[in-house]
């Protein structure tokens, strides 16, 4: 499928099915992640958003379906091909996933030391540039235990862009952060995407924040894509379920009350 601009999508998911035990997480899902855009994957907690990122990075394998990244099927790749592909993908994990025995500087330098033959002085300069981009050049000597949650995520972001990837996947970047940190991360997602020509996938259930920074949205529920489009389209033309989710309404297709017998009858018994 071609995107609106005629380009093939960077990530193309077709007929994706995945289950954990008897619980179906995805049931024949189709998703396109357009190049150069910020795409949000939304849905209630436990709906499989993070699982989708794991499937795109082949940390998990689907039961059926196909996932193509930059035209290549990730599930038919050899290990070497997969690792070559992963060098072009950055991931910002929910927890930051920083190496606790390394300083901030060494965390960002890690992929450079592992995958390049750059001299120490070159690595020094590249790391400082990446840290400057996320506003943490001054924190280079701190250990991860000395960072706040927001700072840890920004360091993780600097590390994710260390190898100048083609795409970044953000796993719940706003969860548990104060409003200022949320604002900083929102700004960074948009800014880095546009300045570095990246493609960004943001997995989250923070509707308000996502509508402000993303170009395209997918809403997933119970294994299916229940809505997709620009934030404006989804905001006004979604189904009743999407409308309830987008506006955080307490009652609707997802009822306020847990299923129970008739209230009056219950009281009179």
């Amino acid at each position: 499928m071609m995107s609106q601009g005629g380009e093939t999508p960077l990530v193309e998911v077709r007929g994706l099915s995945f289950a954990r035990g008897t619980r179906v997480i995805f049931d024949a899902v189709d998703i396109d992640i357009p190049r150069g855009k910020v795409t949000a994957i939304m849905g209630p907690s436990g709906t499989g958003k993070t699982t989708l990122l794991n499937l795109i990075g082949r940390q998990l394998r689907p039961a059926s379906g196909r996932i193509k990244v930059d035209g290549e099927d990730v599930n038919t790749m050899s290990r070497d091909e997969l690792y070559a592909m992963r060098k072009r993908m950055g991931v910002m994990f929910q927890t930051g996933a920083l190496f606790t025995d390394l300083t901030v500087f060494e965390n960002v330098a890690f992929p450079l030391r592992e995958h390049t033959h750059l001299s120490d002085s070159m690595i020094h300069d590249v790391v400082l540039m990446k840290l400057e981009a996320v506003g943490l050049r001054g924190a280079r000597d701190l250990m991860p235990s000395e960072l706040s949650g927001g700072m840890a995520r920004r360091v993780a972001l600097a590390r994710a862009i260390a190898l100048d990837p083609m795409m970044i996947m953000y796993d719940e970047p706003f969860t548990g952060q104060d409003p200022i940190t949320v604002g900083v991360i929102m700004k960074l997602i948009r800014l880095l995407n546009d300045a570095l020509g990246l493609t960004s996938i943001v997995v989250s259930h923070d509707v308000h924040e996502l509508t402000m920074i993303c170009d395209h949205m997918y809403v997933i529920s119970e294994g299916k894509v229940v809505g997709q489009g620009t934030p404006q389209v989804l905001d006004h033309q979604g189904s009743p379920w999407v409308n309830q989710f987008m506006h955080g309404l307490p009652d609707g297709p997802v009822p306020f009350h847990y299923p129970a017998s008739d209230y009056a009858a219950d009281l009179l018994t």
Binding site: R86, K87, L98, F99, T100
Partner: protein
């Protein structure tokens, strides 16, 4: 009855499945060994944390075990008027058995549990997943250097344990109980055989080191990524290593010294 049999079968299947996983894991670790040779700095760093940092407990325990051994053996030997053999008895006990076995048990408690907890926590905090997504194989970058370092450290620690233990026995026997110093060393020199005793002790400590390292890194890598999962994995490392070392000790002793 049927339920009981089903449960038994299920448990047995789980045990065999886990054993299979542990062996596949070991195979993957083995195929990653060239990586450790190519990047010795990673192994050296781990040697410090599993080896050097275990020195205190090994030296203190070795000294105490040697002193107790000196005291106990002196009392028994003096009944037969052969106190001069104290050096030989202390050295043989340490080199053949106590050195490798006790050092391995201490190693499991100090370094093995730390390895499991470290790898398990790296898994729980997504550091291993993060590494894999950065196209760095966590098995080769994290597990293999720790495995190799533990395999190297264990025989060295067992040797230090035995040497310090002999010093402890000397201190008690010669220093406190009046055994002749010349006899202490000369009986040891003449009766402790390099091949039969020392080499077999080294082989034992290498085998124990291999098993202790395997269990520690596997339990960490296989841990359920929660606090409870890591805690259980750490406990399993200590218990399984202790049982494996003691069972292996009997098998190796039988093979080396015979059971006839």
């Amino acid at each position: 009855m049927i339920n009981w049999l089903q449960n038994l079968g299920r448990r047995a299947m789980r045990v065999f499945e886990r054993l299979g996983r542990a062996h596949l894991f070991l195979w993957q670790v083995m195929t990653g060994l060239p990586q450790a040779i190519l990047r010795p700095s990673l192994v050296v760093t781990q040697l410090y944390s599993v080896g050097v940092l275990s020195m205190v407990i090994i030296v203190v325990s070795g000294l105490n075990v040697g002193m107790v051994l000196g005291l106990q053996m002196y009392n028994t030997l003096s009944d037969f008027g052969s106190e001069e053999s104290l050096g030989q008895v202390v050295a043989l006990s340490l080199v053949r058995e106590l050195g490798p076995v006790v050092a391995a048990l201490l190693f499991a408690g100090r370094a093995g549990s730390a390895l499991t907890a470290e790898i398990g926590l790296m898994k729980a905090t997504e550091q291993l997943a993060g590494m894999a997504m950065m196209a760095v194989d966590p098995l080769r970058r994290v597990v293999v250097p720790r495995f190799v370092a533990a395999c190297i450290a264990m025989p060295l620690l067992a040797a230090i344990f035995s040497a310090v233990g002999v010093m402890g026995g000397y201190f008690v026997g010669v220093g406190l109980l009046g055994v002749d110093s010349g006899s202490f060393w000369s009986t040891m020199q003449s009766r402790v055989d390099w091949h039969e005793d020392v080499l077999n002790g080294i082989i034992k400590s290498m085998a124990f080191g291999f098993v202790a390292a395997w269990i520690a890194v596997f339990e960490g890598y296989d841990a359920i990524p929660t606090s409870e999962g890591v805690s259980r994995a750490t406990t399993r490392t200590v218990v399984e290593t202790a049982l494996a070392v003691l069972a292996l000790d009997f098998i190796l002793t039988a093979l080396m010294f015979g059971v006839d």
